[in-house]
C-alpha cells in the first residue's frame, strides 16, 4: 500500500474550485482571468493584469487576498512614489537611556499578496525596487537583506489606454511576471449581474477557501506533475519559434523583433502542470500548454514597428505559432 500524498489531486481540484467559487461571489464573469491569476499564484509566480479602468482588477486581487487568507498590501503607484515607500526604510527612534538607534520599518511589500495598482505610473527607479522582491523574494535596505513572507505574490495592474505620464515597464521587469492577463470588458449579461450585485442592498461576502500553507502545499504538488519528453520538447520548440529568423510561423518572422526568454518556457511548463491538475490529470498535455500559452508569452514577445503599425497583437502571433508548430 502506497501512502497517499499529503494533498491529493482531488483535494487540489476541490480547493481551487472553492477558491474560484468564493471569488466568483464578488467577480462576475472573468472566469479565464480568475483561472489564470489562480494559476500564477499556484505556480508561485506573479501576474500582470492589464485592462481599462473599472473592470474589477483591483477588486479581484483584493477578493483573492480575502479568500486565500493572506496578508494583503495595496500599493498605488504614482509618479512621486519612492522605492522606500515600497520596501520600507530605516527610521531613528529612542531606544531608552537616552540612546537613539535605527530601526527598519518594513514597507507595504512585506505581505503575502501585493496589489501593485497602476504599476506603470511609477518611475523606473521605483519600479525597479520591485525587481529583487519579485525574483529573490527578499528586500535589501541599508545593506541589510530582509526575506519576504511566503507565499509572496505580486499582482500588478496597468491601464493600456492612458499613456500620458506613464513609464512602460522595462522588458526585464515584464519578464518577471509569470503571466500577463488581459482583462476584457464584460458581456451585457455579466454587466447586468454586476449591476444587480453592486447596486442592491446585498453585499457579497466571500469567505476563506484556502490558507497560505495550503497554497504552498498546492505549489509543491503542482511541481510533481510529470511532463512527457515530447511535450517538454514541444514547449522548447514553441519558445524557440517565437524568435524571428528560423520560426515556422511567417507571422513571427515578419512581426517579432525579439522572442520569449527561457522564463517563458518555465511559465509554460508550470502553467501546463497546474492546468493538468485543475483538469484532474496526473500529467501535462499539449492542450495544457496551449491553454497557458497566451498569458505566458504575450508580454515576452517584443514586436517590431510593422506589427505595431498593422495592429498585429502578440496573441495573434501566439495563435499562429500554436497552429503551425507540429506536435510530433
Amino acid at each position: 500500500m502506497i501512502d497517499q500524498p499529503q494533498l491529493s489531486v482531488a483535494d487540489f481540484r476541490q480547493t481551487t474550485g472553492a477558491i474560484e467559487a468564493e471569488v466568483g461571489k464578488m467577480i462576475v464573469g472573468q472566469r479565464d482571468v480568475i483561472r489564470m491569476v489562480l494559476l500564477a499564484i499556484l505556480a508561485g509566480g506573479h501576474a500582470l493584469l492589464e485592462g481599462v479602468p473599472g473592470l474589477g482588477k483591483t477588486m479581484l486581487i483584493r477578493t483573492l487576498s480575502q479568500v486565500l487568507e493572506l496578508d494583503f498590501s495595496r500599493i498605488q503607484f504614482t509618479p512621486d512614489l519612492m522605492p522606500a515607500d515600497i520596501t520600507g526604510t530605516e527610521i531613528m527612534e529612542e531606544q531608552g537611556g537616552g540612546r537613539r538607534g535605527f530601526r527598519f520599518q518594513p514597507g507595504p511589500i512585506f505581505a503575502n499578496l501585493i496589489l501593485a495598482d497602476e504599476i506603470n505610473r511609477a518611475t523606473p527607479k521605483t519600479q525597479s525596487a520591485m525587481l529583487e522582491a519579485m525574483q529573490e523574494m527578499t528586500i535589501t535596505v541599508a545593506n541589510e537583506t530582509y526575506p519576504l513572507p511566503r507565499p509572496f505574490f505580486v499582482l500588478a495592474t496597468q491601464n493600456p489606454l492612458e499613456m500620458e505620464g506613464t513609464y512602460p515597464l522595462p522588458e526585464a521587469q515584464l519578464d518577471r511576471f509569470l503571466f500577463k492577463v488581459d482583462v476584457r470588458f464584460p458581456s451585457a449579461e455579466e454587466l447586468n449581474e454586476i449591476l444587480r450585485r453592486t447596486t442592491g442592498d446585498e453585499t457579497p461576502d466571500p469567505g476563506p477557501a484556502a490558507s497560505g500553507a495550503q497554497i504552498l502545499a498546492m505549489q509543491q504538488l503542482a511541481r510533481q506533475v510529470p511532463v512527457a519528453t515530447h511535450v517538454a520538447d514541444y514547449i522548447s520548440r514553441l519558445v524557440v519559434a517565437t524568435h524571428p529568423g528560423s520560426s515556422p510561423s511567417a507571422l513571427v518572422n515578419r512581426a517579432v523583433r525579439y522572442g520569449s526568454s527561457p522564463r517563458g518556457a518555465q511559465a509554460l511548463v508550470l502553467g501546463a502542470k497546474i492546468s493538468a491538475l485543475l483538469d484532474g490529470r496526473y500529467n501535462a498535455s499539449f492542450e495544457d500548454v496551449a491553454a497557458v500559452a497566451r498569458p505566458a508569452l504575450r508580454h515576452r514577445l517584443i514586436l517590431n514597428f510593422e506589427a505595431q503599425a498593422n495592429q498585429i497583437s502578440p496573441d495573434q502571433i501566439i495563435d499562429d505559432l500554436l497552429a503551425v508548430l507540429s506536435r510530433d
Binding site: Q4, T229, S285, F286, E287
Partner: protein, 549 residues
Amino acid sequence: MQTDIGIEDLRPYFRRWGKRRRLSALLLWGPRGLQAGLLAGVVVAAVARFRPLLTNDEVGLVGMIAAGIGLAFGAIWALLQGRNLDEQARFADRAFGLRERMVTALQLARGQINAPGEWQVHQLADSVSAARDVDEKAALPLALNLQDWAVILMAVVLLAAAVIIPNPVEAAVREARAVQAVVEEQIAALEALQEEIRADPALTEAQQEELLRPLAEALQTLREGDLTREEALAALSAAEGELRELAGENDTRTLREQLAEAGQALTGSESGRPAAEAMEAQDLAAAAERLGELASQLPGLPVEEREALGRSLSEMGRELQGSDPQLAEQLAAAGTALQQGDLEAAREALEAAQATLEERAQAGAAGEAAQSAAEALAEGRQEVARAGEIGEAPSVEGNQPGQPGAAGAGQQPGQGQTGQPGQPGTQSGQPGTAPGQPGGGSQQGQLPGGGTEGGGHVDSVFAPPLRDLSGFEGVDVELPAECRDRPESCGFLLDQTPTDFTDERSIVPYEQVYREYASTAYEALNEDYVPLGMKNFVRDYFSSLDPGR
C-alpha cells in the same frame, strides 16, 4: 487506489487499438495506393497517346501492374502502422484524446521522466482508467472514403478507355519494335558477314580492310540503338553503296567475257590451247598461270608455232583493246615480239600479261566479295523496309494504271519484251544499277520493279529509269553501246520507240510513260517503305498527272 498496477495493464489496449488502427489504415491507404497506381497508369496511357511508347494492351498491363503495386504499397504502409510501442502510445493519445496519458505512463515506467513513486501509480491508474473508456470503434471508424473510390472509378474508366480506344501512335510503336528486331537481326548478319570476309583466303588484308570498313560503320550505327527505320535504312544503304562502288571498281565480268571470246584465237595454236581453255572458262587466275607457262615454253616452240602464237596474241590484243587496254597492249607486244623472233621480249611481255591477269583475278575476287556483301546488305535493307508494315499499306491492285489485269503483264516495267515476267538477272532491282548507269551490266533486269512474279524484288528506293519524253523537253538518255547492235537486249523501250538511234535518243508516248511510272510508284507504295505522310503525296502527284482525268 489500485497499487499493483503496471504498464502491462496498458498493453492489451495498445494491441487492440493497433489492430483497429491497421484495419482502419488499410481501408484508407489501400484505396489510396490503388488510386495512385491507377493514376500513374492513366498518366502513362496519356503519354502513350502522344508518344510511341506502348501499345494499348501494354498500357492496360502497365496500369494493372501500377495499380497492384500501389495497392500493395498502401496495404504494407497500413500494416506497418503502430508497430512501435512509443508510436502506439502517441497515436492513442492523439486519436482518442487521451491528453498524453499513455506516453507519460510509458515514459514514467521506463524512467525516461521522473515523478514520485505514488505519483507514477496514480498516473498509470488514471491512464488505464482513461484507456478503458476509449471507444476505438467510434474514434477509428471502418469507413470507405467515397472521394477516393470516385477517383479510382474515374481512373479505371480512363484506363479502360485508353485500352479500348485505338491509339493513333500504336502503329508507330509496332513499327519501331519490328524495325528494332530486324536491326538486331541485321547486326548479327553483318557480324557474320565480317567473319566471312576475314576468313576469305582469296582476299588480301588491304582488300579485307576495304570491305570491312563500310560494314563496321554500318554496325556502329546500328548498335547505337533506338534507330528509326530511316536511320537504319540510311546506315545499310550507305554501306551497301560503298560496297557496290567497290564491286563496280573491281568488276571483271566484261573482261572475262571479252577474254573468253578473244581467247578463241589461241585455240589455233597447240601451245596456246591450255590458256585458251582457261580463258574460255573465264578463270582469270588459271589463265594467268597458263600464260606464265606459255612464256616459259617459248624457247622450245618451233618457229612456225611461235609465229602462229604471235599472230594469235596480236589478235587477242586487238580484241581486248576496248575492255582492258593494258592487258591488250601486253598481249599485242608479246605477239609482235614472237612474230619478230624476239623471244626475250615476248617472254617479258607474256609475264607482264600474266601479272596483269593475276591482278585482275585478285580484284575480281574482291569485287565478288563486295558484290556478295552488298547483296546481303540489300536484303537486310529490304527486311528493314518491310519491318512492321506487313498488310499495312492500302492495296491499289487493279485500280492503278499499269497494274496487271489493267494493262497486261507485258506492260510492266522491267518485264520482257515478249510479255514474259521480268528477269531478275544478277543485278535485278539493286540500287545503283539503274539503266543508263555505266558499268551496270545488262539492261535487262535492271529496270525498276522487276516484278515479284519473275522472281525479282522491288527496290526499296524508287529510282525510275531515265527515259526521253516524246514532244517534251525530256532527259537525254545515254544508252549502252550494245543497244545499237542488239536492240532486243534493251527491252521493250527500244522496240516500241520509233527511232533509228542516229541521235542515240528514244521517244516514249506520255500515256505509256505515265502508266509505267505510276504503276511502279504504286507498287513501291504497296510493297516498300515510304514514310506514311508521303504516301498520299505520291498518290496525289500521280493522280494530277493522269492523262485520263
